[in-house]
Subunit: 316 residues, 2 copies
């Protein structure tokens, strides 16, 4: 049997057929064009699934169901996207509407949850029961797996670790509060900090790397300057590690998982990022050596985690 996983993003709809060994055997994508109505996006999802099944020459009876990872606040029980900023959706009955076009069992969950489940099924957290995964991108997404199951909170709108406070009355966050983890630990936040610092310290290598155009600064430039011991970059990265480190210590003090996974472009830095985070976490976790302290590890499935995890929703 096979399952279909859909990774629905603000930019692209990605669909994969996943076999029983968690391998993606066929994949397709099309642009989401999120400014269209939800109806049109859902029609595209259905067509993409149908054409991929046909192209892969799989009998539709061999498909056990369709799972969807979707950004935003989801009522997973009723299959309704309550609110998604990325898709510009409100109260969209995603499962019901897709079900009219695709007669398979359909499940939906938040995209960060799906990525976390993907890593548990086939990635850097394979076979672990309790993990927390942070996605460091435009924002900070979080997927929490407890006792092998997705943890979404008692009601929709939980498991939003990116929207917990790190600096009361600090930087403005997209959620309306000030000082959330997201406002300090996302890739966007790293770049914001870098711009602020480079404006004040014109001697930084980073200013050379971006050829004087602050709008061109990306995370890699900061880490490249850090590798060359540029003082400004060292300060930026040290601060970034301490913000993200504090956020991870908070997560461990609450969830005490088997492992912490990080994903997003920043994680390409590998141990440059995870080694100092591990050291930070070992120093500050509650109860110190008396309690187990999980490692901080880079997620391994990259963009495929979402598809594999969405497909796995059918077996949760």
């Amino acid at each position: 049997m096979y399952r279909v996983g859909i990774d629905l993003g603000g930019t692209n709809i990605k669909v994969g057929i996943v076999d029983e060994n968690q391998k993606i055997i066929a994949i397709a994508s099309s642009p989401t064009m999120g400014k269209r109505s939800a109806n049109e996006v859902i029609k595209d999802m259905a067509n993409l699934v149908k054409s991929l099944i046909k192209k892969a020459e799989i009998n539709s009876n061999d498909i056990s169901g369709v799972g969807i990872g979707c950004p935003g606040t989801i009522d997973t029980i009723n299959g309704i996207v309550l609110y998604s900023n990325n898709l510009n959706w409100e109260d969209v009955p995603l499962i019901d509407e897709l079900h009219e076009l695709l007669q398979y069992p359909i499940r939906v969950s938040n995209d960060a949850n799906c990525a976390a489940i993907g890593e548990v099924k086939a990635g850097a957290a394979k076979d672990l029961k309790n993990i927390v995964m942070l996605t460091l991108g435009t924002g900070v997404g979080s997927g929490i797996i407890l006792d092998g199951k997705i943890f979404e909170g008692g009601h929709p709108g939980g498991a939003e670790l990116g929207h917990t406070i790190l600096v009361k009355d600090g930087r403005e966050c997209t959620c309306g509060r000030k000082g959330c983890l997201e406002a300090y630990a996302s890739a966007t936040a790293l770049i914001q900090t870098t711009k602020e610092m480079v404006r004040k310290h014109k001697n930084s290598l980073i200013l050379k790397f971006c050829k004087g155009d602050l709008e061109k600064i990306d995370g890699k430039m900061v880490f490249d300057a850090f590798e060359q011991e540029d003082e400004v970059a060292v300060k930026i990265i040290d601060d970034y590690i301490s913000y993200l480190g504090e956020g991870i210590v908070d997560i461990i003090n609450v969830f005490r998982p088997d492992r912490i996974l990080l994903s997003g472009g920043i994680c390409n830095q590998g141990k440059t990022l995870t080694n100092p985070l591990d050291a930070y976490v070992k120093k500050y976790c509650f109860a110190g050596e008396k309690a187990m302290i999980p490692n901080v590890t880079k997620a391994s499935l990259l963009n495929n985690a979402g598809i594999i995890g969405a497909a796995a929703l059918l077996e949760m």
Copy 2:
């Protein structure tokens, strides 16, 4: 059948016999005298249980087991108190040692978890499946009930909501970090803030209430001055509400429970405390009106929650 609940604190050992309707039918206590060895404390616990069963004229066959609520970091699976600051215990095999003296099934959990379970069984969260309870005392303890079960994290040392950051690099916390919720929202923290403020603002009513002796300041004095619109007290309470409010919004963004319960002496203020907290939370929770926002409610069982909850460990 009856169960025995033990609320083991740094000051007193409290034991109760609880019936099937969650009523305490007999109660006894003795001082913990925590400076003694764990062995001696455990002997006292056993003797207290035995004598209470005898005094209540209950046949020992009618006792189905003994539950213990214990402060600190507990390995509940193996019944070991890994670390308890209040008791000055390290790696104490509590269940094994007590079992040598009391031949009943024995369970142990953190005291804040027991208080939360007590409120679910018989108090302000009766029959709710998902609640988070904060105990605002010397520190900030937390009990988390998810889907009707105690949530302790994947490994011992989780569920410590008091030790998540609210103000990075802020006030020193007892856990070794700076700026934890506990350092701003505990009763101790409220009094610390009050002392700092009264030192600067000698015109405050609070200075009259404590007769000029800052060491005599308690939480009630601050709220009494607040009721009389003392400017300093109003500022202290407004700030306290905003710190505790931020902490509660964090909890809702992660756990999205049916209700938030508060306990501890400060909660005697009732709606003076919970009304502004409710308003704060409604304003700042993630996803706003699109997601369910739980009420903030005063716990109702006071000191009995721990005994009732400890006894209920036998049925978890």
